[in-house]
Symmetry: C2
Subunit: 109 residues, 2 copies
DNA sequence: TTCTTATATTACCATATAGTTGAATAGTAT
DNA sequence: ATACTATTCAACTATATGGTAATATAAGAA
């Protein structure tokens, strides 16, 4: 992390916030296998089409995905594969956190 | 990323969401040099005491920081240094994103 | 005891956002 | 032309959350 001016802190936070939503994480995972249309994604992750479209725009605004239009359909794809590195890191942290909580529970018995 | 059941997607999202807030990022950075009290942090990052306290609890709930009480003061410290790896990753993404936007602007002239 | 000091908690307000509905836009086919 | 499909946009509701103020709790000092 750098010095963190107000502007950079806000920019970094926006990038994290875009990943702080279950459906957006599912969309990213669905896109992991390759380019998908909005309709495909809505069917695969389960959700209204308009809602999926909105979430995809959030991901695009942060540069995680990119869009390509072909006729009436929009094809979205991952542009920043490092997002998965981040997910793996946060998953690792999750497991440690679960371990920590389990130990706390054991101590309290 | 794994299969992403509803529960795991929600848990991962919570972890990202905790980092999706400018003040929490500043708190983490302030803690990078070592253990700090709530009052110290409030002075260093600039913010009300109650607000800082609340944000620290969010970070603690996600296991990013831990607390140690000594008299009336609470000492917080980083428990998961990998959070900084994540920040570096997201910063890298930020720069790429800025580059991308700069190129788009250039193309439009 | 009373008076600080440090932190946490509660209640409240204002804003942000996820989700839905319906309309608008645009392409394609008949 | 109409009809159908795919997506986006706009408006709305409900909920979540950041910030603040006041209070509560707790520890130490005078």
């Amino acid at each position: 992390m750098i010095q963190l001016s107000d502007a950079t802190a806000a920019a970094i936070a926006e990038r994290f916030k875009a990943l702080g939503e279950p459906m957006r994480l599912r969309l990213l995972q669905a896109l992991r296998t390759g380019e998908c249309s909005v309709g495909d994604l809505a069917r695969r992750v389960g959700g209204g089409q308009a809602n999926v479209s909105k979430h995809l725009q959030v991901l695009q605004a942060q540069g995680y995905v990119d869009r390509r239009k072909e006729g009436t359909t929009s094809w979205y794809r991952i542009t920043d594969p490092q997002v998965f590195t981040m997910c793996e890191l946060v998953c690792g942290g999750l497991e440690e956190e679960l371990d920590r909580k389990r130990k706390l529970l054991r101590r309290r018995r």
